[in-house]
Structure formats: C-alpha cells, structure tokens
C-alpha cells in the first residue's frame, strides 16, 4: 500500500485532497450530494458492519453475552479472568508471539535473499519468480494444511525418509508439543513469495549509478548489498514487515486444520485466533471472545506502533522522509 512512497509518482498521490474551489457554487453543492450518493454503500457498510460492530464488541467485552440470552453487564470480569485465571489465554499469547517473532524475520530474510538473486538478467527469470511465488498463493489453503498434517504426521512422509536414513525414533512433529508449532512456522516461512515479489519491485527502483560508483570504488558484492541495497530499500523492508506482522497475528487455517481445531498437542499450536474461535463459537462465551478480540487489537496496534516508532531510526526515504 505505502509502496507508493518509494515510487514517487510525479503528481502527489497520497491523501484525498487536491483541487478545492474557493467558493462553493450551487454546482459544487450538487456535486457534494452526488459524492455522498456514490458513497452510500460504503457508508452503510462502515456504520452497520465496521464502526457499529466495533462499539458493540467493546460493549460485549464487559458482558457475559452468549448469543441466546440477553447480555448482562459484568464490568471488568472478562479482562480480569483473562489476565489472572486463564492459562489458555497465556498459552495462546505465547504461541502467537513465538509464531510471529520467529516466522516474520525468517520469511522476510528468505524473501529478500531470493529477490536479490532473481534481480538480474537471468534466463527463465519469470518461471523462477512464478515457482517461488506459488506457495504463497496456495499455502494458506485448507488443502496445503491437510498436506502438512500428513507430511509431518507420526507416519508421515518426513518420518518415512528419516527412518530410511536410519533414525529409528524420529520426533512425531505435529503430535509433539516441542515441534508442532515449528512445523506451522515452516509452513509460514515457505509462503515467502508475496513479500519476495514486493522486494523485487523495490530492488528495481535502486538507481544503477549507485552500484556503478561503488564498483569503481572497489566495493565487493557483499559490501554493495549491505551499503547500497539494504539502505535504499529500507522502506520496502518496513512495508513488508508491517504487512507480514499483521498477517501472522491473524493466522488461523493451518493451526485449525493441523491440530483438528483443538490447538493441541498441549495447546502448543493454540493460536490466539483459534482460542478466540473456540471461546466464541464452540463454548459460546461471546462476551469473553469480544474481550479477547480487543486485547488482540491492542497487541497488534502496539506492535505496529513500535514498528513505526523504530522505523525512524532505520528506514530512509530517498526524498528526505515523509
């Protein structure tokens, strides 16, 4: 989304501003009415499906709402229970943070590494790009989660190979609390195609003169990568980090399918979203689930805010920052 920052289109493209007439003629007032008319569907959606539900969700989080009975106000009970008496909540937070903090940097590293290798005149470049991208398109599907469940199962493909190599008792991967989450992280990292495509677009914007100048000065490829490529594309790294972070916090399908909807073994794959689903739609504790949703919103907002705050120390915009 914000990749327009690095592209610097000739006309300022951000914000909805633009030309503004000084005097509002009757013609422009008519245009104003038209504007709201065109926005009507969006406004209805905003009020009925976004803003309204957000407020209601906040209200529900202070109630014992369970869908079928009228909600009773319980004050801060839901939040209190969450932070003092709910081990599964802490398990969910721990699992989700581990997932995010391990998978996002790894995924971005692979995405950037392959993008750099692919960013040159190369025979078959579009085929490579397509093949590296493909898991990103397919990886979130139920079908691939099903595949993962077999491959990393007790008698799955991985263990068939490992036994073939002479390992008598390999781990049981998705059935082992120490490994289950890491098979999900592997699945996530495998889907590095879409950040890779964004990196490729960013790398094409790096001015060639920089590399030529560095080559004249005798800089090695490694130096060129760290001294030129990385600093110039920091806005793209930042964009990718934000996008992947928000995406990873909301991951659901893989954990649901691979753990059979339980988050097991021993809650080791209990993603936050999965716990929210279990509380809201299996146990019908919808008030509690609403409170969980608001805490998740807070966590994601905090991570994003920290990222933005840190970005001023390492993200450089070519045009002097915005």
């Amino acid at each position: 989304m914000t990749s327009l920052q690095i592209r610097r289109p000739p006309a300022p493209a951000t914000g909805a501003g633009g030309r503004r007439t000084n005097t509002r003629s009757s013609a422009s007032r008519a245009e104003g009415r038209w504007g709201y008319l065109f926005l009507t569907p969006w406004f209805v959606g905003l009020v009925v499906l976004t803003a309204g539900p957000m407020l209601v969700s906040l209200y529900y989080s202070f109630t014992d709402f369970s869908l079928l009975s009228t909600p009773n106000w319980v004050g801060l009970d839901n939040y209190e229970r969450m932070f003092t008496a709910d081990d599964r909540f802490f398990a969910a937070v721990r699992v989700t943070l581990t997932y995010v903090i391990v998978s996002v940097p790894l995924q971005l590293a692979f995405a950037l590494g392959i993008a750099v290798l692919l960013n040159r005149a190369l025979r078959g470049i579009s085929a490579y790009r397509a093949l590296y991208y493909l898991p990103s398109l397919l990886g979130g599907s139920v079908a691939v989660a099903v595949l993962w469940r077999q491959v990393f199962g007790r008698e799955g493909a991985v263990n068939v190979v490992l036994r073939g190599l002479g390992w008598e008792n390999p781990p049981t991967w998705i059935a082992d609390p120490d490994f289950a989450l890491y098979t999900l992280i592997l699945l996530r990292v495998w889907e590095f195609g879409s950040p890779m495509v964004i990196f490729l677009a960013g790398l094409r914007q790096v001015p060639q003169e920089y590399y030529e100048a560095a080559e004249v000065d005798g800089a090695s490829p490694v130096q060129r990568f760290f001294r030129i490529t990385i600093p110039v594309i920091t806005p793209v790294i930042f964009l990718n980090a934000i996008l992947q972070l928000i995406g990873a916090f909301q991951a659901f399908n893989s954990a649901f399918i691979i753990s059979g909807g339980t988050g097991g073994p021993l809650d080791s794959t209990l993603f936050y979203t999965l716990y929210l689903y279990i509380e809201g739609f299996t146990n019908f504790r919808m008030g509690y689930a609403s409170a969980l949703a608001w805490v998740l919103l807070g966590i994601i907002a905090a991570f994003t805010a920290v990222n933005f705050a840190l970005s001023r120390f390492w993200v450089h915009y070519e045009d002097g920052g915005r």
């Binding site: 504007g35 869908l67 490579y128 077999q150 964009l239 928000i246 809201g280």
Partner: protein, 303 residues
C-alpha cells in the same frame, strides 16, 4: 496501478532484462552464472516439491504413499479421485458450485461498490472528503476479529446464519476497502479532460462514472476480480463460522469434513480432493500471472 504507470520504465516491463550495465560482466562470470542457475533451479524445485508430492501421492494406493519414496506411482490409482469425489454425503460438484457462486457474488459486489466509492473519492468534491478517505484507509488494516462477534450476532438476529448472505452482502457495501484504495489510485491516472468533455456534453456524475470511468477502470477491475476470487475461494474462517449445512458447504469446508470423517485412514482420496481444490487457484495464476504480480508489487496486496 496508477503508480505503476508513472514508474513504468522500471517495473512495468518485468521480464525485460533489467540491468544493461551488468551484461559486460557476463563472459567473466560464466561459471558463477551456471552455479546460480543450478542453485535457483534446485530451490524452485524444493519450493513446489510438496505440491508435486501431494499430486503424485493422490494417484497412489494407500500403502504405497507411506512406503515408497519414488514420485511416480507403481500402480496408478485413479480410483482415489472417484472415491474422494463421492466420499461425502454430497458429491464434490456441489461444493465447487457453492464456492464458485460465493466467489462470483463477491466479485460483483466488490467491483460495483468499491468503484462507486472510489469514483467519489477520486473525482467528486464534497465536505469531509479527506476525513472519510482517512477513515477508509484506516479500516483496511483492521483485523476482522474486532467486528466478528457483533457481526455474527447481527446475522443471527436477521436469520442469515447458514446462508451465503453474510459472505456476500458485505461485499456490496464496500467492506473490502482495499479495493477502493486500488481504484482511487487508478482513477487518478485517468486524464480529467475526459470527465470535462463528458460534462460539456451534458453528462452528470453518474453518466460520467458509468460511461467514462468504469470502462476505463477495466485493468484495475480485473485485478480486483482476481484477488477477490482468490481470497474468497481460499477463505476458510468465515465459511467455517457461518455455514453449517453440508449441502451448502464450500470446497475448504468439504476438505475439512473429509479429514474429520475419514480421519487418517484414507489419504489417497483426501490428497486427490486436496490436489483438485488447488487447481482453480493454479489456473487463475497461470492465466493472470502478470496482474497478480503487479497487484502485489504495486500495492502490497496479499497474494
């Protein structure tokens, strides 16, 4: 997309050899290039190997999946596809049809409602336009959990649970605000002279939208349609929440049910249906690779 036009020399021609200055190095680096090619080819194979392995296993008898390390089946078990297709209470054509119906409605809804809103934001002058635009951008990043429970309660009250309405009606209310942003960017690249000419000819905003902007928006609409299709077809969570009747199941829900009912006992048919379920995505990708790559690289659309 409009962004793309401005920076066309660099990114529009993705497949053109990008770096003329490096070509003079080519003779010197022959060996290195061969190594690079081998490395990239091996990496690409490793990336898609799991999918290939699943497709191959879908044609093997049960015991061979677990025993044999070779990719090609010893016995070609096409029966897996027949068993899988009819493995649930409803045959899979029902689930495919359901998935396609929801996807098609979502596409129509997104393209109509988002292009209407985008036209207003990009071309019309009205009070608080900047404010509403900021609100719209803000909703893009909002996690769906923030609205999930009250939305469910609302649909429950309306009697919409276990119908496709919760999955499609919101698309007609421009809730996928991302596409509004995409279309606004594109409309800004359309010359205003065209609107002005239409105005001189006496066309009001609606006719300008319908006869000038909407047709010219086509490339962005195609991108919107592709991503809406992919997201809807791949969606699992909202379908899981809202659809409970097997006859109304979509492909992902059917796969999950298959896994639950047959357990770990019939991987062949399970893989057969999983492989088939990826086919529409792969076809869309092959047909629209350029639009997908451009959509991701210019806007950060989730692929």
């Amino acid at each position: 997309m409009a962004i793309l036009e401005h920076s066309a020399p660099a990114s529009a021609r993705e497949d053109a050899a990008p770096v003329p200055t490096r070509s003079r190095q080519r003779p010197r680096l022959t060996l290195r290039r061969v190594v690079l090619q081998l490395f990239l080819a091996a990496g690409a194979l490793a990336m898609v190997y799991p999918i290939i392995w699943m497709a191959a296993s879908s044609l093997k008898p049960e015991n061979e999946i677990f025993r044999s390390a070779t990719l090609l089946p010893e016995i070609w078990q096409w029966q897996n596809y027949i068993d899988g297709w009819n493995g649930l209470r409803e045959p899979f054509e029902v689930f495919y049809l359901n998935s396609f119906i929801i996807s098609a409605l979502a596409v129509v809804g997104n393209l109509l409602s988002c292009s209407l809103a985008a036209y207003a934001f990009a071309r019309l002058d009205f009070r608080f336009r900047t404010l509403w635009f900021a609100v719209m951008l803000g909703t893009i990043m909002l996690p769906y959990h923030a609205t999930l429970i009250p939305q469910y309660a609302l649909y429950f009250e309306l009697g919409w649970v276990n119908t496709y309405l919760p999955l499609t009606v919101p698309k007609f209310l421009a809730t996928d605000a991302f596409f509004i942003f995409l279309f606004v960017q594109f409309i800004r690249g359309i010359p205003r002279e065209l609107d002005q000419a239409a105005k001189v000819d006496g066309a009001g905003p609606f006719r300008t939208y319908a006869l000038i902007i909407f047709p010219l928006l086509r490339p962005a609409l195609v991108t919107g349609a592709i991503f809406t299709t992919i997201w809807t077809y791949n969606d699992f969570f909202s379908q899981l929440v809202y659809i409970s009747d097997t006859a109304r199941y979509t492909v992902p829900l059917a796969l999950r049910m298959f896994l639950d009912t047959t357990g770990e006992s019939s991987w062949g048919p399970m893989f057969a249906m999983s492989t088939l379920s990826l086919l529409p995505l792969i076809i869309v990708f092959v047909l629209f690779q350029r639009q997908i790559v451009e959509g991701i690289s210019t806007t950060g659309l989730k692929g």
